[in-house]
């Protein structure tokens, strides 16, 4: 008997995501996948899954659901949030970065996210929606993949995979935290030469603010407009996740997982893959700096990031219930300190 989730409240935008739909961009199919791939991998590790199994990506605030048909083991990673598990008249409160065993019939409520705009809730066995083009990721624009090609809604029923929760619940002893101001490393190009030298210098010298127009396709940035040598339009070419394209307004757009496969605006720089998970968690109103790096530095940073993730996965230990202080209090403290993390300082 496999467990199911009955969605009571979906949250602002909760979607099924895995590590993305690779291999179909030549047909115009975007990659999609979790904005914070590191969070997906860590959440999966916490519940004993393989790194790329599908989970629920949560943006800004979490869903509420009932676990039916069997127990479930789940874990939230990528942001802090209060997780309430209610069975009968007893409610237990937990935080992120640890596995939680939820008994059959219990209701789970994931609160507002703190420290990042997105997080991933993984379940032992994964979320078992039908794969489409080799992935369970939701393509919101194409309306396929995930759960009926859309964000979750109240009343939805989701099957969990058969993987059994084994051994004790694990936790991550020193979870990564995100600083208020974020620096993203980016390689200039492919069309940095479409901009004036002053514009390229300004782009890497001035912080930009994330505007309200921010979704899984991309984030419009507010700051000094960037001047072109000739114009913003190029003959359309391929777009990579992390590309920073600049339309005629001169205001850059940071393109994320759901970006279209090709486009006709000049791209001043591309955020390196090691920093994409951080980019995915940016929230409207937040500030972002860009720092120029070379391709070789970007490749090296990615290898360092993989080593960090491997180290974090290796550091998982059984939850020490006795030693636990009030997690909600800890979470408040984290909100205030917001220091740079193990991941950040790599």
């Amino acid at each position: 008997m496999t467990a199911r989730l009955h969605i009571l409240q979906p949250g602002p935008q909760t979607t099924v995501q895995d590590l993305g739909r690779h291999g179909f961009q030549a047909y115009g199919v975007p990659v999609c996948g979790a904005l914070d791939g590191t969070a997906l991998r860590l959440a999966n590790a916490l519940v004993g899954n393989e790194a790329g199994q599908a989970g629920l990506e949560i943006r800004l605030a979490g869903p509420a659901f009932e676990v039916v048909g069997g127990p479930a083991r789940l874990a939230l990673a990528g942001a802090q949030a209060r997780i309430e598990v209610t069975l009968g008249d007893e409610t237990r409160r937990y935080g992120a970065w640890r596995a939680i065993d939820v008994p059959e019939g219990a209701q789970v409520r994931v609160g507002a996210l703190a420290g990042s705009g997105c997080a991933v809730l993984a379940f032992a066995g994964g979320v078992d929606t039908p794969p489409v083009l080799c992935s369970r990721s939701t393509d919101l624009k194409g309306r396929f993949g995930g759960h009926e090609g859309r964000a979750l809604a109240s009343g939805d029923r989701l099957l969990l995979g058969k993987g059994k929760a084994q051994g004790p619940c694990l936790e991550l002893p020193s979870p990564p935290r995100v600083a208020g101001e974020v620096t993203l490393r980016a390689v200039p190009g492919p069309q940095a030469d479409a901009f004036t030298d002053e514009a390229v210098a300004a782009f890497f010298a001035t912080p930009y603010r994330i505007s309200r127009e921010a979704d899984r396709m991309g984030m419009r940035l507010e700051g000094p407009p960037l001047a072109f040598r000739h114009g913003a339009d190029i003959v359309s070419d391929g777009i990579a996740t992390g590309a920073i394209q600049v339309p005629g307004s001169g205001l850059p757009i940071l393109l994320l997982a759901d970006h279209q496969t090709i486009g006709g605006y000049a791209k001043i720089a591309t955020v390196i893959s090691a920093d994409l998970p951080l980019a995915g968690g940016l929230m409207p109103g937040g500030l972002v700096h860009f720092r120029a790096v070379t391709v070789a530095e970007g490749e090296e940073a990615r290898r360092a990031r993989e080593a960090d993730i491997a180290r974090l996965v290796a550091s998982l230990v059984p939850v020490r219930e006795g030693a636990r202080i009030d997690e909600a209090a800890l979470y408040q403290a984290n909100l205030i300190s917001g220091v740079v993390t193990a991941l950040e300082s790599s």
């Binding site: 115009g28 975007p30 390689v187 359309s236 391929g238 591309t270 070789a296």
Partner: protein, 253 residues
């Protein structure tokens, strides 16, 4: 001597430049304009890489004049992969006939093509002349992209060359046959869009349950065939029941 020179000239690193696209991709750019010969080099390079499967290659994304190469920086580097690609040789394929030509039925004008009247006015042609020109052209599939299964079909006759609409539509229905600049296209799914809508086809161009998920392949030929409302409705019904076979010139697909 001549042979050696010709061989060098066929190498990709003599015909293209590499542009940095972060730490997991780079572009192989063959030119800066829309041209069937340049586009053929892009698709030929993509096919060579699909065959060769060099270590660390993830996928390639062809566009008009460049190929975006995605790689895994944990198993190769831009430098190593560019050295490999640069040494591949390309034969000139410009002018080669398309491998197959699709016949796409279109109901032109009226509610099916709400911009046909405007297009006629802007080009100084009658609606019938616009239809005759649009349907009388053999198009090439340059690129698929921007939307799943959206194909850029060129080249549109010069007299139909119009800039995009100044105010894009919020919702363009699927199957809309559209033109802008020197291209024609068909919206495979509902989407916002700024092209001029001149007709409607009941065919489906993208199905994520199929492999490959798109009807067209790069380099395919496409011809539009005007049909009346009754034929359009009959084809739409056949498509809905899964009974329609897309037509190729010289026989069914």
């Amino acid at each position: 001597m001549v042979d050696a020179e010709a061989m060098t000239a066929r190498r990709i690193d003599a015909r293209a430049r590499f542009l940095p696209v972060g730490d997991s991709a780079f572009a192989v750019e063959f030119g800066d304009r829309i041209d069937p010969g340049i586009n053929a080099l892009v698709h030929r390079t993509a096919a060579l890489l699909t065959e060769a499967r060099p270590e660390g290659l993830v996928e390639t994304v062809p566009s008009f004049r460049s190929l975006l190469v995605h790689y895994d920086p944990l198993s190769t580097s831009a430098q190593a992969l560019q050295r490999f690609i640069g040494g591949l040789e390309l034969e000139d394929e410009a002018g080669q006939a398309p491998p197959r030509i699709w016949r796409i039925p279109v109901l032109y004008g009226g509610e099916a093509g709400p911009d046909l009247t405007e297009v006629a006015a802007a080009t100084g042609l009658s609606e019938a002349e616009v239809i005759a020109l649009h349907a009388g052209t053999l198009y090439r599939v340059y690129v698929q992209g921007f939307l799943p299964g959206f194909a850029y079909l060129g080249d549109l006759p010069e007299v139909l060359d119009l800039p995009r609409r100044t105010s894009p539509r919020v919702r363009v229905p699927p199957g809309s046959v559209a033109i802008a600049q020197r291209m024609s296209g068909i919206y495979p799914v509902e989407s916002p869009g700024g092209w001029h809508l001149i007709g409607q086809t009941p065919l489906r161009f993208f199905d994520p349950a199929q492999s490959p998920p798109t009807l067209f392949a790069p380099g395919d030929g496409v011809r539009f065939v005007p049909v009346d409302a009754r034929a359009h409705a009959a084809i739409a019904e056949a498509v809905a029941r899964g009974r329609y076979e897309s037509e190729l010139e010289g026989g069914s697909a």
